[in-house]
Subunit: 338 residues, 2 copies
DNA sequence: GTGAAAGCGCTAACAA
DNA sequence: TTGTTAGCGCTTTCAC
């Protein structure tokens, strides 16, 4: 491998000039720049990442701590990941992938200066990783919202507002008995931030709108979804509006309703909280509140990069939910979206 | 951040002693080791990854080039990824995630010495990435099988044998007209290695077993699956055995068959090629040839690490397919698995 | 607009 | 069993 000195020699300039041509941190005359660039091409020179990191304290790598966990929808995770990786490249950064079960990895990558910044997904209310990264020297953005962010930046869909919006939509359509078919029990037991926030919004709006709301946890399997539906209709037989916040279970919930002869969009209004592509690939187009997973991933990178550059203070960004009506819900007289 | 010199000073030893305590590359007396370790703990010392990489030409990072592509099943990809990440940690390595659309990334990470080795997924017959990594100094393992591996190691399920096995199973059960519902058109157009190999095995065994085999590409959407089923039954109405090699489409294929009043396991035998958990989460337990995605990911890491350590020559490992009979296929008189 | 040179924090000869 | 020290390849002051 050619080194920067080889390039300097070949171009007849000093090492620092080559370095500055590469970084653009000081003006270089056109002819010099041309000679250096020619030499770089000719030698196929690539700066050594480790050397660069050592000298500059910058790695051009960000860590992404992503869950590979039971109960979360893998395709949705991947949308977040895709957003993060893509946007990171826009900032000339690569992505080091950490998995949830590897909490010691946080120490390793931060303490060892392997990365310039971190993005963490699947945040729990009382997440043990938060104090760890809060103490690190690298800026971190959480996708999700812990009880106490300890000064870290956060970004997520405003699930509380989404819960309210969903109930408002159903109540506006005349439903008085609504229900949530929510995350798997494991997710709830972990006090995963989004699940709890959605429920909070749901309940507060239900009170305001004067509707009842029944909550069912729901495994993502066909049988789990079936039994959630069955239990729900046994416990609260008057339910006419369902909010489904479980991408994996959604198709099975719809199947079970169909099996029971319940026509979605007529007998039962269903609102899904999920990425739009998921909402559209069901047996009938779903009224849904979009979970813009890829977009959130991108915003997370934007935020972390902003903190890396200037002295941006940390902030929390909750994206406003957008509900799109489709075939799965009936629009009532006083629908607030009209 | 404390440096190795700080530790040495605190422990009253030389830098190299600390280094050797860390690496274990030379014997250290118990008391010395204890003093060094105490100092490390007290100072919260973490070796600087960049400095280490510069001095040792080892990064303890491997690159994983994973597809985020249309037509491939995201959950299955993630199983590969999980296998790679998990096993990499066993070798004290982290994983840098590259996406397919980022071919220049190969140059960047290899030329810049950002990684010790690479694992590449979703290999096409004539994959442009292969010559690139073949020229790199880092060892690479391909998950999949290009036309010409150019000296690189490969690992995958033996899809050709899987094709043969599936046909043998169906022919043995007395079926004379079988069909493949395969990958999406995009995957075929890319000449993705696994799709082509499965078809090759299918066709050769069909000839041997004296059965006909119809092939349908199949989009993973509900409507794509429905039309694949419809087209198939229009073109080859005598079909009584179907092999499905498309995780995303599988549930929709089964739904369509059900809609048409065709009872899987009785009127129609269906063999799936997919991970076992996918086979088991269908409406009926599927006879399947397991795609051990996570296992393949692990083997890929084992292979790449072997090449990194000793002077292991490169090799190709094709894992023998295993067919497990479940409810979706009838077992015939001369079934070779009896 | 350009160059010289002092580190960045480690590893691994080489020496003792 | 331990210490000394020369780099690894870059960035960035300082000097011109």
């Amino acid at each position: 491998m050619a080194t920067i000195d080889d390039v300097a020699k070949a171009a007849g300039v000093s090492t620092s000039t080559v370095s500055y041509v590469l970084s653009g941190k000081r003006p270089i005359s056109a002819p010099t720049r041309a000679r250096v660039e020619r030499a770089i091409d000719k030698l196929g020179y690539r700066p050594h990442a480790g050397a660069r990191a050592l000298a500059s304290s910058r790695t051009n790598v960000i860590a992404l701590m992503a869950p590979l966990r039971v109960g979360v929808s893998v395709p949705v995770i991947m949308q977040f990941v895709a957003g993060v990786v893509t946007r990171a490249r826009d900032f000339d950064h690569d992505v080091l992938l950490l998995t949830q079960d590897d909490v010691s990895g946080l120490d390793r990558v931060t303490g060892g200066s392997m990365v310039d910044a971190l993005v963490m997904m699947d945040i729990e209310a009382d997440d043990p990783r938060v104090p760890l990264v809060a103490a690190a020297k690298q800026p971190t953005v959480l996708i999700g919202l812990p009880q106490d962010p300890e000064g870290l930046s956060c970004v997520d869909l405003d699930f509380e507002a989404a819960g309210r919006l969903a109930v408002r939509h159903l109540a506006g359509a005349g439903h008085t008995d609504v229900a949530l078919i929510g995350s798997p029990p494991e997710v709830l037991q972990r006090h995963t931030s989004y699940a709890e926030r959605l429920m909070r919004g749901l309940r507060s709006q239900a009170k305001l709108s004067g509707v009842t709301v029944e909550v069912e946890a729901c495994d993502s399997s066909p049988s789990g979804a079936a039994s959630a539906v069955d239990t729900l209709l046994a416990t609260a037989p008057d339910t006419t509006g369902i909010i489904v916040h479980n991408e994996g279970a959604l198709p099975h919930v719809l199947s079970r309703l169909a099996e029971r002869g319940i026509v979605v969009g007529t007998d039962m209004s269903v609102v899904a909280v999920c990425p739009t592509d998921v909402a559209l690939s069901q047996r009938i187009p779903m009224t849904s509140i979009d979970l813009p997973a890829e977009g959130i991933g991108k915003v997370a990178v934007d935020m972390v990069m902003a903190r890396l550059e200037g002295e941006h203070p940390s902030e929390t960004r909750l994206l406003a939910p957008v509900l799109t009506e489709r075939a799965s819900s009936v629009s009532g007289p006083s629908d607030p979206l009209d």
